[in-house]
Subunit: 323 residues, 2 copies
């Protein structure tokens, strides 16, 4: 317990404060159901559609909580991050709503579409070489020059508290859930679920779903300590990052199990969701459904909340087109 | 007026009866909005999402109204049609819910995916050669053998009354609309809008959106009589069929204007909707947005209901992949 206090972990009250703080800037996203997917899974699935969220992903919750929690003095210096994915978009959106700068360090080799999207939300890009050492060096430079507040994509108590608002909405929208399942990469969303549900609905089992090709969280869970892989390759490109100490604290204490799916199972589940539910979602979001269909013994007959984490897909590179 | 009585046109009361009749079998679909698309268009757009409808399209409204309005005696003989698109799916779904046969005549050359989809909803397929004469001959045979009730995809008063329930919901979901816009092919959805809105909200302007490459309705509208083209080619494959006398009666009396968009404008609007709204919809559904973006003088500053007609897309053949 001492360890966890040292980690400055967010509390349930931090989540409640986040909810109030971010309410003007984020959507209360809808929950969709599908008769076909219920029949296929034998479960009763309730899809929390964060693909319809502002900036296209749940990450805007944590980003807004960080940005709108800054003092006016700190806010003037802006925020900074080195993500090139949904966190960069979300932080740019949040900063834009507050009218402060958002500095994003991205490899110069990142796809033009991603750079355009960040700029579209008002983010200021500083390019680095595509290596960890260059990224760190350039980021340190930006940080020192601007004094911007660093908002980590997931290992930040403000971000975890923000992500926790998603499951707080879900349990208001759907009564008597037996389980919640979400994809796991760095563990921000899952940690948010743990933070909220362990207090507000401790009877709800929390499952994390991970690509088999990037199963560092599942192996960490079994080993009892963080295992970080170097650059795993998976179609679920939002899920390549490793757990960090704050997310590990939540995952190791509250998650029921971490289940994995193969690349083929993920792509099949993604395609199935597009075809039956008519929603655009990222490959990462399909991992939970893939895991549910693969493990009927775990989910059959249960009432399950499924977090659909985001919808920022490259429509020119759909995974079933590459086969 | 005598002409219209001879045509056995549906009345507003028929629409109200349809609404009650089909309520147990169809969704009250949600209305979505998009800040980005509002900014791009200068209008306030409210998307009525029939892509989330049962069987994936609005056509299930008319099909259910026809099927559940049959006497028990007629129902036992089933229903029949010769569509190979959403009407065939929808009629199969409706018949399945009532537990009666649905006979669908389809060209043997129709894509396997379409045949599988019809069979998936319980439809009984009889194949014909890919020609009008073969289709008519085979259909007559099926009709005589089974005694099934023929449900035309759009030129049927029961079908038009059923489609009218969509705009009845829309004006309950969104107050004070200035206009409604929907794609036009045979004119079933537009006729339903005319039927409902001319009585319940006569101040709402009704616009039809049509591919320029299949603009027979626009030319009919200007000429004052039905012009039917033979096999136009457009990416909006749900909109190739011509108006018929019943839909023409509604279109010619109540539509404000019919506006067209090019193939490129349609594909751009489709892609834009997928990217910004994160919904899967058919090329046909993109024609209204294409028309709105192309005619800012018509739509700017107005509160517009946009009917998103269906979501049954071949995910292996997305139009921007063929460029």
């Amino acid at each position: 317990m001492k360890d966890m206090i040292d980690l400055d972990l967010p509390t349930y009250e931090d989540m409640l404060a986040a909810r109030e703080r971010i309410a003007p800037y984020v959507h209360r996203t809808p929950v969709l159901t599908s008769r076909i997917l219920d029949e296929m899974s034998g479960a009763e699935l309730h899809f929390k559609c964060e693909n319809f969220q502002k900036a296209g992903a749940f990450k805007v919750r944590g980003a807004c909580n960080a940005v709108f929690g800054l003092s006016d003095e700190q806010a003037r210096k802006g925020v900074a991050t080195h993500s090139s994915g949904n966190h960069a978009l979300s932080l740019s959106y949040a900063a834009g709503r507050r009218g402060i700068p958002c500095h994003v360090v991205m490899p110069r080799t990142a796809p033009q579409a991603k750079k355009d999207a960040v700029r579209g939300y008002g983010g200021i890009i500083t390019e680095c070489e595509p290596s960890t050492s260059s990224r760190e060096e350039v980021f340190t430079g930006v940080h020192e020059r601007t004094g911007a507040d660093f908002v980590h994509p997931y290992n930040d108590p403000r971000v975890i508290a923000g992500q926790g608002t998603c499951s707080a909405e879900l349990i208001e929208q759907v009564d008597d859930l037996d389980a919640v399942i979400a994809p796991i990469g760095g563990g921000g969303m899952i940690s948010g679920c743990c933070l909220t549900l362990s207090r507000a609905a401790p009877e709800v089992a929390i499952y994390a779903a991970e690509p088999k090709e990037a199963d560092d969280a599942a192996r960490s869970f079994r080993a009892g300590h963080i295992i970080a892989d170097d650059a795993p390759v998976t179609v679920a490109d939002g899920l390549k990052v490793p757990l960090k100490e704050r997310t590990w604290a939540f995952v190791s204490n509250h998650v029921t199990d971490i289940l994995t799916a193969t690349e083929e199972e993920i792509v099949d589940a993604m395609r199935l969701t597009w075809r039956t539910m008519k929603i655009v979602m990222e490959p990462s979001c399909a991992v939970p459904l893939a895991v549910i269909l693969k493990n009927p013994d775990v989910f059959r007959g249960r009432r399950v909340g499924v977090i659909v984490t985001g919808g920022n897909v490259d429509l020119d590179k759909l995974p079933w087109m590459q086969g």
